[in-house]
């Protein structure tokens, strides 16, 4: 291991390079466009090269052994009293794979942004934020300390806030940015409490520290056996608190509301949030802290925290997929699809498949980045139109975008055999099926699979098939409003991502589960026979049938009827009540409006009334009293002190005036006084002589 250790010296560079780029960009002028592009892309490329080197190093160090390679570099941040707060960097297969994914997708998104944002006046600012976003996410990945992870976690939140609200002139964008920040912050509160609690119980926040770390045997045993209120194991309680943070960041059910609204940001930002950085953070946190989540006192029980993760994931997967069916905004459909897919990842984590979750995360990152950038290309080509009802027939106008989007769609829907999404979802379903606690999450996931195929097909039909519908609305200027293909700087990243979305599937098929052994240790062998074992084959057939049913149902519903802004959705024609509920996102936002936000408004109004009447009254009383006092003081001053002083002055003046009359200026008068004085002196001395 020692000969591989040199690379850990470069680990810190991976997040620091984009951070430096962000810092330099933030102080440079807004007109330096070329410099912004060179700095951002340069930093991303450098990070990507470093991440790839690290990845290769880990692969070689692993070398097919059962042991998982884990390089931790810890250092003291500061000391207080006897204790020292230590931070650390970590390199293991989990984050090595993530690093490559994040830097690679980040790089492609940056390239795409150069084209997409080319007309924006705040070009430089955008790239500064983009770099900050990457830096924060990379820092999150390499940290070996819950505290360092939390710091980067918050930086990710900050960068997302800045980017979602990038067009801050739009009120909706500003509101969406705040919503994202506040919603994730609610989860972060849990994270923070969990972190403090863990520190109190174990005295360390390092994940791995040569046996003394948080995720190592000694600490885990203590946490799993200790109990807190209600007989809950300490590990369960803290893991659930950490999961609150993950729920916020990864958009799991009660806290998913910010994610669709985050579409207000520029499309490359949506791609970055949904694919590489923001939402991946929550899944990564659970994966990183998985030993804590899985810690149990006995050997044969299922950890309570993991049960919660599974249920939340399963519910979110189906819930978001349902909502995605009835959305009409191209990016919003993708957003709900992301929420749903994150649910799948959580299911995978909950049933114990860290490798499956991370593989689905990476595969999803590729095809979701592809879909978002494709959607960006569509929006760009359709002159900032986002309503899928006003698109249609774009297949003819934008062939490159269509081809790559179709690949992304098929990967997301889980088309069999050639797409990464198929294999990663298959793995999750397989694990969910064998979960001992309950079979229901498996069925929820199956329903999610069906709906995913359904809504993606619906979107494809709306956007790329049929006739171009915006022409009908404004036929007189049809020629100039004709959609156009995007420039190569935007289509090339799409092609690269499409290739990734397809090829990535090869490293995690049941026949050659290289990725799983890479994450969890062990050597991968090529065995085609595994494809045809009874369980695998049956499940594969089942999911193929489900996907085919979803695609077929959507095709049957949408491809054969006329679509448009005027006509109602075919689904709405059949089930108007259900469709409306789904189109209104199952009233979750309304529910929050009616409960949490109304409560906040009421509390705000109460505070305002308190301010206005009680505190304001108090302040006014105090100030009135002061004014009264000062009036009295002024009166006393004026009546007594001023008058006394004035009288004194006046007396002095008049007496002075009188005395000054003696000064005639005539020298003889003075001499007369002297003479008088002389006479007096003589009289005085004469009188003394007498006495």
């Amino acid at each position: 291991m020692a000969d591989h250790f040199w690379i850990s010296h470069f680990l810190w560079l991976v997040p620091v390079v984009p951070l430096l780029a962000a810092g330099m960009l933030s102080v440079s002028g807004n007109s330096r466009r070329n410099r912004a592009v060179i700095l951002t892309l340069g930093a991303q490329i450098l990070s990507f090269i470093l991440a790839s080197l690290l990845f290769i190093t880990v692969i070689r160090a692993q070398g097919g052994t059962e042991e998982v390679v884990r390089l931790a570099v810890n250092f003291t941040w500061f000391e207080f009293g006897d204790t020292a707060l230590r931070l650390g960097l970590l390199l293991d297969p989990l984050n090595a794979a993530m690093l490559v994914m994040v830097t690679f997708i980040g790089l492609l998104i940056c390239i795409f942004s150069v084209g997409y944002m080319s007309r924006d006046p705040n070009f430089t600012r955008f790239f500064a934020f983009l770099s900050l976003f990457s830096a924060a996410m990379l820092g999150l990945l390499v940290s070996n300390s819950l505290l360092l992870l939390f710091i980067c976690w918050e930086l990710v939140g900050l960068a997302s806030y800045l980017l979602i609200g990038f067009w801050y002139q739009k009120p909706s964008a500003a509101a969406a940015a705040q919503k994202a920040f506040i919603t994730t912050r609610i989860g972060d509160l849990g994270f923070f409490l969990g972190m403090i609690w863990l520190y109190r119980e174990t005295g360390t926040l390092l994940f791995y520290d040569g046996g003394a770390g948080l995720l190592e045997q000694a600490a885990l045993h203590g946490l799993a056996t200790g109990t807190t209120i209600g007989g809950l194991a300490l590990s369960t309680a803290t893991a659930l608190l950490l999961f609150c943070g993950a729920m916020g960041k990864s958009g799991q059910f009660p806290l998913h509301v910010w994610l669709p609204d985050a579409m207000e940001g520029p499309t490359p930002v949506s791609a970055l949030i949904h694919a590489a950085t923001m939402v991946a953070a929550g899944v990564f946190l659970v994966a990183r802290a998985f030993p804590l989540f899985a810690a149990t006192a006995g050997p044969d029980t299922v950890a309570t925290a993991l049960i919660a993760v599974t249920w939340v994931g399963a519910f979110t997967a189906l819930f978001a997929a349902c909502i995605a069916v009835a959305q009409t905004d191209i990016k919003r459909i993708l957003a709900y699809s992301t929420v749903s897919q994150l649910g799948f990842m959580m299911i995978a984590l909950g049933v114990g498949g860290v490798a499956a979750a991370i593989f689905h995360l990476i595969a999803h990152a590729f095809f979701k980045a592809l879909l978002f950038l494709g959607a960006g290309s569509v929006i760009h080509g359709c002159h900032d139109e986002q309503d899928i009802r006003k698109m249609g027939g774009l297949r003819r106008f934008m062939p490159a975008t269509f081809a790559t989007y179709a690949i992304g769609m098929m990967a997301l829907a889980g088309f069999p055999f050639f797409f990464s999404g198929f294999w990663s979802k298959e793995e999750i379903l397989h694990l969910a099926q064998g979960w001992p606690a309950s079979p229901i999450p498996f069925y929820l996931a199956l329903a999610g699979t069906f709906l995913t195929a359904f809504y993606m097909t619906r979107q494809m039909v709306y956007v790329f098939f049929g006739n171009y519908r915006a022409d009908q609305a404004s036929s007189e200027k049809a020629s100039e409003s004709r959609p156009h293909e995007s420039p190569p700087i935007m289509t090339v990243p799409l092609t690269v991502l499409a290739a990734g979305a397809v090829l990535l599937g090869l490293v995690a098929t049941p026949a050659w589960p290289w990725f799983h052994h890479f994450i969890e240790g062990g050597a991968a062998t090529l065995e085609f026979g595994k494809l045809f074992t009874a369980g695998t084959l049956g499940l594969m057939l089942l999911s193929i049938v489900l996907v085919a049913a979803g695609v077929g149902a959507a095709w049957f519903l949408y491809a054969r009827t006329s679509l448009g802004t005027a006509e109602r959705d075919p689904l709405e024609r059949k089930r108007p009540g259900l469709y409306r509920a789904l189109a209104q996102r199952l009233y979750v936002d309304e529910f929050y409006d009616a409960t949490v936000i109304r409560f906040h408004h009421a509390a705000g109004r109460a505070a305002d009334a308190l301010d206005r009447f009680v505190w304001h009254g108090l302040v006014m009383a105090v100030s009135g009293f002061s004014v009264l006092l000062s009036r009295a003081s002024q009166a006393v001053d004026r009546r007594f002190f001023n008058r006394g002083f004035d009288t004194g002055c006046e007396t002095l003046r008049t007496s002075g005036g009188r005395v000054s009359r003696w000064h005639t200026g005539n020298i003889q008068t003075y001499l007369a006084y002297i003479g008088a004085g002389l006479v007096l002196l003589i009289v005085f001395f004469a009188w003394i002589q007498q006495a």
């Binding site: 000054s660 009359r661 200026g665 005539n666 007369a672 003479g675």
Partner: protein
């Protein structure tokens, strides 16, 4: 026999006359003459106290008076020079006309 009191009374009278001239006359030259009279009375005192003093043979009083007369001459010269300047400035030697230092 002439006594000391006799000389002192004459000297006091002379001084009073001079002082009266200084106080009452409005012409500056007349005031200067009054001052000379007052000086003479002082000189007379010197001589009288010397003559009736303990040691009349020493020439102390005479010498003193000689110095005093020399100083008075110098003083008269300075006074006349001042008078000429005042006259040039005010075109008058009447003290009513240059009471600039009045309060």
């Amino acid at each position: 026999m002439l006594t000391l009191e006799f000389f002192l009374i004459i000297s006091a009278a002379l001084f009073s006359l001079g002082f009266a001239a200084v106080l009452t006359r409005r012409n500056v030259i007349m005031i200067l003459i009054g001052i000379e009279l007052m000086l003479s009375s002082a000189n007379l005192n010197f001589i009288a106290f010397w003559r009736f003093g303990p040691d009349p043979d020493a020439l102390t009083g005479v010498l003193f008076v000689l110095f005093s007369i020399a100083v008075a001459a110098a003083e008269a010269a300075v006074g006349l020079a001042l008078i000429i300047l005042i006259y040039r400035h005010f075109k008058s030697t009447n003290t009513f006309n240059f009471s600039l230092l009045n309060g």
